[in-house]
C-alpha cells in the first residue's frame, strides 16, 4: 500500500510548527500505524533527516502513552481503540492521512507529535488517591463493597490517562479524565473520608491547568479508547456541588 502523509513537524516547544508531506510505499496492511511511522522514521534517518518524535510504549493499548490525532480524530478512525491498536488495513491504498499531536492549551507541544500531559499528573496529585500509608491498612474483607458499585468503579478506573478526551473536545476540557478518577473513589467506601476535599481540589487544579469548561458536547466519550461514560461527569458535578455546599 502507498500513502500520502501530512505530519505535524515542530522542532521544539517554541518553534513554529507546520504540516510536512511524506509519501510512503510498500506498506503491509497488517502493519500497525506506529510500525508504519517506524518505517517512515527509518527512511528519514537513512536520508540524514530528523525522525518524527512521537510518544508510545506498551503498544498494546493499556499504558496510554501513544497519542496521535489522525485525520481529524484522536487515536484515529476506530471507536474504543488507541493509536497503537490501529492497523493500516483501516485505510485505503493511496489515502492521504493527516497526523497531528493531541492539541490543547494545557498540553503544550514538546516536539513534533509529543505533548506535555503532566497536567494530568498534577491533578491526580491533588486527590486522585486514598490517603493510606503503606502498612496502615485493615484486613481487606473488613470493607465489603456492593458488587454493582465495584463494577461501576472499575468501569471508571479503566481510564488510561491518554488525553484523547481533551484533544477531542472543542473546549479542551478534561472533565472525562478527572471525573473518571473522582467517580472511582466516590463509588468505593475507601474514598469516603476524603470525598469532599478530593472533588474541590482536583477540580480546582483542573481549572488552574487551563483546561476548558464542559458544554455537554460528548466528543470525549465518543473518542475515549476505554469507553469512559459521560455519567461520570454528572457524578463529578454532583460531588463538586455537594462539596462546595458543605465547605461554605
Amino acid at each position: 500500500m502507498k500513502f500520502n502523509l501530512k505530519v505535524w513537524r515542530q522542532k521544539n516547544a517554541k518553534a513554529q510548527g507546520k504540516l510536512v508531506d511524506y509519501t510512503i510505499d510498500n506498506i503491509n496492511a497488517d502493519m500497525s500505524f506506529l510500525e508504519m511511522v517506524d518505517v517512515l522514521n527509518d527512511n528519514l534517518t537513512r536520508k540524514g533527516e530528523d525522525p518524527i518524535a512521537f510518544d508510545h510504549d506498551c503498544r498494546e493499548g493499556i499504558c496510554g502513552m501513544c497519542s496521535m490525532y489522525i485525520s481529524g480524530r484522536a487515536h484515529g478512525p476506530h471507536h474504543a481503540a488507541t493509536t497503537c491498536q490501529l492497523y493500516m488495513r483501516s485505510f485505503k491504498d493511496g489515502d492521504t492521512i493527516y497526523v497531528e499531536p493531541f492539541r490543547a492549551g494545557a498540553f503544550p507541544i514538546i516536539k513534533d507529535l509529543v505533548t506535555d500531559r503532566s497536567a494530568f499528573d498534577r491533578i491526580i496529585a491533588k486527590g486522585g488517591f486514598v490517603s493510606v500509608n503503606t502498612g496502615q491498612a485493615q484486613d481487606a474483607n473488613n470493607l465489603p463493597v456492593d458488587k454493582a458499585d465495584a463494577e461501576k468503579a472499575m468501569d471508571a478506573a479503566a481510564c488510561i490517562g491518554c488525553g484523547a478526551c481533551v484533544a477531542a473536545c472543542p473546549n479542551s476540557a478534561a472533565m472525562l479524565f478527572v471525573s473518571a478518577k473522582i467517580s472511582q473513589l466516590a463509588l468505593l467506601p475507601q474514598g469516603g473520608p476524603e470525598r469532599n476535599n478530593r472533588a474541590i481540589n482536583m477540580v480546582n487544579q483542573m481549572d488552574e491547568e487551563g483546561f476548558g469548561n464542559c458544554t455537554n458536547i460528548g466528543a470525549c466519550e465518543a473518542e475515549c479508547p476505554k469507553e469512559i461514560k459521560l455519567t461520570n461527569i454528572a457524578r463529578m458535578n454532583r460531588e463538586y456541588l455537594v462539596a462546595s455546599l458543605i465547605n461554605e
Binding site: 503491509n28 496492511a29 499504558c63 503532566s118 496529585a125 490517603s131 491498612a137 479503566a158
Partner: protein
C-alpha cells in the same frame, strides 16, 4: 571479586522475617529527613517503594523514562495477584503459597525470600484494597477469588483482565500523593545511563533528560533499581518498547552480579510474527488453552500448502491433524505448563509443519469448544480476547483457528540481591523485575 553473602536471618523459616524486622536498625526521624534515596523506575516495585520511603520520611527522587509514572509496563499484567488470604477456606496458608511458588520456580528460588513474599502477600491485598483498587467482588460485597495456573486453591485476586493496571494506578496514586506533599521529586522523561559509585558505594546516578538530551547528575545515599526485566534483549518480545534494560546493564557493568539470566519465560500463546517491520509481539491470555486445541498438520506437504495459501485449516481432515500436545502429554493435554507447550510448538515448526508463511506458527482451534458449548458461550468466555485477536490479525477465531507461536514474555533472572535486596554493589538495591 565480591563475596556472595545472602544475609539470610537466623531461625526457622517461618520466623526469619519477624526476626529480621525485630532486630533491624531503626533510623531516627530527624536523620531520615537528611537521607536521600534514588528510585529508578515507577512500576509496581518502584512506585510502591518510592511512596513508602517518602511516607517514612526519606527524601526520594524518582525517575522514569515515560512522560508519566503511571505508564510503566506493570500496567500490562492481566491475570491477577496471589495472596494466602484463605478467604475461601479451601485450605490455603502462607506455607502452601510458599511451597507452590518454590515449586513454580523449579526449587531454585531462595526460600527465605519466598517465605517473606508469601507472608507479605496478605498485607499487599489489604494495602491495595485500602488504596481503592477495584478488585472483583462477590454479591455479598467480599472479595472474589479465582484459581490460576493449575493451583488447587482459589487465591488469585483480580480486577477484570486489568489487574496490573489497577494495581499500578493504586501505587501511582500513592506516589502522586507524596509528590504533591513535596516528599518525592519526580523526574519523568529521564533515562538512567550510569550508576555513580564513590569509594565502592552507590551514591547517585547519571540520567539523560529525554527532552533536552542533557546528561544530568543526581545524588542519593542509596540507589534503588526497579527498572524492569531484560526481555527486550531478544529481538522481539511482549515487553513495552521502552523496557530496554539499560539501567540493570549499567549496574552490572559497575559490578552488580547477574543471577539466573537463563530464566526467561517463553510464553506459548502469542500472535506470530508477520513481517520484518514488526516492533513487538502481543500476548494472548493463556486461558485460551482451556478450550482451544493446539495442532499442526501431520504432513509437511499439508503444512506447506497452508503456508502457501493453497489450503486452509478446514481443508485438513481430522485424521490428518496432529494435536501434538494431546498426543505427547495425554494427562495434561493442551493445558500442559507454559515451557512445555512452547517447546512442543517449536519442535513442530522445526519439523517443517508450521502453518504461517514464516513457518513459525501453529493452530489454536476452538471448533470443538464451539460444537460442545455453542458460539455464545465461547464468545462470552473470551470476551475481550477474540476481538483483540481479530483487530490485530483481521481473522475471526470463531470461524478459523487462531494462529499462535511462543514469544519471550518475562524473565526471572536479573541482578543478584541479598535478603535486604542489596546487589553486590554496596548501597545499590534492586526490586521487582530486574532482580534475579
Amino acid at each position: 571479586m565480591s563475596e556472595l553473602n545472602s544475609k539470610i536471618p537466623e531461625g526457622p523459616l517461618a520466623n526469619k522475617w519477624n526476626n529480621y524486622k525485630e532486630h533491624a536498625k531503626l533510623v531516627n526521624p530527624a536523620n531520615k529527613r537528611k537521607l536521600e534515596v534514588i528510585v529508578v523506575g515507577t512500576g509496581l516495585a518502584g512506585a510502591a517503594a518510592a511512596a513508602s520511603l517518602a511516607e517514612l520520611g526519606y527524601q526520594v527522587k524518582a525517575f522514569c523514562f515515560q512522560d508519566s509514572p503511571r505508564r510503566a509496563h506493570s500496567i500490562a499484567a492481566q491475570g491477577g495477584i496471589n495472596a494466602a488470604k484463605n478467604y475461601k477456606n479451601d485450605g490455603d496458608s502462607v506455607f502452601r503459597l510458599f511451597y507452590d511458588t518454590i515449586k513454580g520456580g523449579d526449587f531454585r528460588a531462595r526460600e527465605a525470600n519466598v517465605y517473606r513474599l508469601a507472608t507479605e502477600s496478605r498485607n499487599i491485598i489489604d494495602q491495595c484494597v485500602a488504596q481503592g483498587v477495584p478488585f472483583a467482588r462477590e454479591y455479598g460485597g467480599l472479595l472474589d477469588n479465582r484459581s490460576f495456573g493449575g493451583s488447587q486453591v482459589s487465591r488469585t485476586f483480580y480486577a477484570r483482565g486489568q489487574t496490573g493496571q489497577q494495581l499500578l494506578l493504586g501505587a501511582y496514586g500513592a506516589l502522586e500523593r507524596q509528590i504533591g506533599l513535596g516528599n518525592v521529586k519526580m523526574y519523568s522523561r529521564h533515562e538512567m545511563v550510569e550508576v555513580v559509585t564513590i569509594e565502592g558505594k552507590a551514591r547517585g546516578i547519571i540520567a539523560r533528560n529525554l527532552i533536552t538530551g542533557q546528561l544530568e547528575r543526581y545524588f542519593g545515599h542509596a540507589v534503588l533499581l526497579a527498572s524492569g526485566g531484560y526481555g527486550n534483549v531478544f529481538f522481539l518480545s511482549t515487553n513495552a518498547m521502552g523496557s530496554n534494560v539499560t539501567a540493570a546493564w549499567k549496574a552490572h557493568k559497575k559490578g552488580a552480579y547477574f543471577a539466573n539470566p537463563c530464566y526467561t519465560q517463553i510464553h506459548p500463546t502469542c500472535i506470530p510474527v508477520t513481517g520484518d517491520y514488526q516492533s513487538k509481539l502481543t500476548l494472548m491470555s493463556e486461558s485460551l488453552r482451556n478450550d482451544g486445541r493446539v495442532w499442526v498438520p501431520k504432513t509437511k506437504e499439508d503444512a506447506k500448502a497452508i503456508r502457501e495459501g493453497k489450503k486452509t485449516a478446514v481443508d485438513i481432515k481430522e485424521e490428518d491433524r496432529d494435536y501434538y500436545l494431546e498426543r505427547k502429554y495425554p494427562s495434561f493435554g493442551n493445558l500442559c505448563p507454559r515451557d512445555i507447550a512452547s517447546r512442543a510448538a517449536k519442535e513442530a515448526c522445526d519439523d517443517g509443519r508450521g502453518i504461517v508463511p514464516s513457518g513459525l506458527g501453529v493452530f489454536l482451534d476452538f471448533a470443538d469448544a464451539i460444537k460442545r458449548l455453542g458460539v455464545d458461550v465461547v464468545k462470552a468466555r473470551y470476551g475481550e480476547l477474540f476481538p483483540m485477536y481479530q483487530n490485530i490479525t483481521n481473522e475471526d477465531p470463531l470461524k478459523t483457528p487462531m494462529k499462535i507461536y511462543p514469544a519471550v514474555h518475562y524473565v526471572m533472572g536479573g541482578l543478584w540481591v541479598d535478603y535486604e535486596l542489596m546487589t553486590t554493589v554496596t548501597g545499590l538495591y534492586c526490586l521487582g523485575g530486574p532482580r534475579g
